[in-house]
Symmetry: C2
Subunit: 321 residues, 2 copies
């Protein structure tokens, strides 16, 4: 839990940063239904599994996903030692912020190339050190703050409300599991083993100074779109009853959680409608975050659509004192 | 937690089924070191990760791993509908209990063949139903009891003792994650998301009656030997400080947990020395469970070796009333 997340008391409003309205009411109604011992539909705590997308749902994904900002900063750092890297067209695309070129093709060869330079060939300990150093020094271009201070305050309250209501919260994100697990417990109160993300296989080596795991890009698993329910089954092994996302990449897991679920279930889409305080996009995102099909399906499925502009009193937590 | 596991009180003996001796003393000493707030080496609860092999460590793997007994029983069931299966040489090997033929070759083609017949091509819900039906009806050939009543009582006490001491227990087994997750919470008090096992990728389908995940044998990950530390990193994301195994297949994760770990760490090997009450083997197991290299390394690494005959007062829990 961040130090700035307000702790909802059992008698007070658990969601103080949410305006009164249909979205907040739907959340409160679902949690009561699933947890009220008097409710005929009460869900046993072991089955209270809630899954949260990360980029665009718990923190921004503009002007680019934060992990992409990490990649770019890491490439700059490597360039100081290996200036020849500047000749690599995919490094050039990354430095230019040209996600389109990197994501081209079914296998996203460009993104894999820059991921290989920044996410493979080192031990997991070395990778951890580089992520921690980056988080401590990097600042978001628009907000000028460390990236991990830019989580959405209303979603922090929701995470805490669900935890206090006996839910187990999981991150289910297209981002790298190794990247997220380093800071999720500190930032969201979610332990590293409750992170489902994109992964590749490490290799185990017993070196003179001890055992290490070396990161590779072998057996890449992309935890997005249909990969999300697949990842949920592979890593969690239970069907969620609550699912929170913001883009078409979350549509499959929203369906998995909510369609014909024998338990009460809940789907929610964070709609980026606030250009003033954050960003406004759906069909035409600046980077990732396309939201068209899932938004069209929301009414039919009964998914709650949150308007950041209308439903959220504040977007970000207050800076730590 | 099984109903039969005795609950250790905070003042009583947490390991009543363990004889007094070096193994029990080593466990108690380690837990005190890692959890005593006055200890300079106290480990924060978030890092108290304990990993347990399953077959041969928490329950027997003789005369064959229990999941193999499930495969054989499932093949028999399928034969009633598809008698032509009896012509398949690998089905014949399985029905004859010939694990050697099934495990031959680097890729264990025989085992993959019978796994495909019993673990793939159906939805995860159908698979769950078949495992639950099998557990309810199948009986161990020697003990005549349901397989899930054959867990080791001393290890049940150890699981509970670690949980009460703020540890997070995980299963890290070569068995199938889907197979284990169905019963681990009921049998060991370990929730399904804390199971690291062998996996394959499912495919997601939205059918007329709702979303399903179909089991395949694509992208098989075998969680054994060096695969165990790899699986621990991929699924848990933290380095364990305590590791419990019984065979050379656990050697890599014992090394990962204990060699040059900056935290206090603990490794333990269950040595099957009790032919009368259970089985006696190491270099010549009846099926799986070869224990030679890890046993030879135990003294050098300070791993505790448990003699089931000498260290355990009882092997199995009392039958439920």
């Amino acid at each position: 839990m961040t130090k700035t997340a307000s702790a909802p008391g059992s008698t007070g409003d658990p969601l103080p940063s949410w305006n009164e309205g249909p979205a907040k009411a739907a959340i409160l109604r679902f949690v009561k239904l699933a947890t009220d011992e008097e409710s005929p539909e009460v869900v046993p705590p072991a089955e209270r599994v809630a899954v949260f997308d990360n980029d665009g749902t718990l923190w921004p994904e503009n002007p680019a996903p934060f992990q992409f900002a990490f990649i770019v900063d890491e490439l700059r750092r490597h360039l100081a030692d290996e200036p020849r890297l500047a000749q690599d067209p995919m490094v050039q695309a990354a430095l230019a912020g040209d996600l389109g070129t990197l994501m081209a093709g079914d296998r996203h060869d460009g993104l894999m190339r820059v991921a290989a330079l920044t996410h493979a060939g080192m031990t997991t300990d070395t990778f951890r050190t580089s992520v921690e150093a980056w988080l401590a020094t990097a600042r978001h271009t628009r907000y000028g703050k460390p990236y991990d201070q830019l989580t959405y305050q209303p979603m922090q309250e929701l995470l805490r409300y669900l935890t206090c209501s006996g839910f187990k919260n999981f991150i289910v994100s297209g981002g790298g599991a190794d990247f997220m697990r380093i800071w999720v417990e500190r930032v969201y109160g979610i332990p590293p083993e409750r992170v489902v993300g994109s992964t590749a296989r490490t290799t185990f080596e017993l070196r003179a100074d001890g055992p290490v795991l070396v990161k590779t890009l072998d057996h890449v698993f992309v935890n997005d779109n249909d990969g999300k329910p697949v990842g949920i089954h592979q890593f969690i092994g239970s069907r969620p009853i609550a699912c929170f996302g913001n883009s078409d990449g979350d549509q499959a897991m929203l369906r998995y959680a909510t369609i014909n679920n024998p338990r009460p279930s809940f789907g929610l889409i964070v709609h980026h409608t606030d250009a003033e305080r954050e960003y406004a996009y759906d069909a035409k995102p600046l980077s990732t975050g396309l939201l068209v099909d899932a938004l069209a399906e929301a009414a039919e499925r009964g998914w709650t659509v949150v308007s950041m502009k209308d439903d959220w009193k504040t977007i970000f937590p207050l800076a730590p004192k």
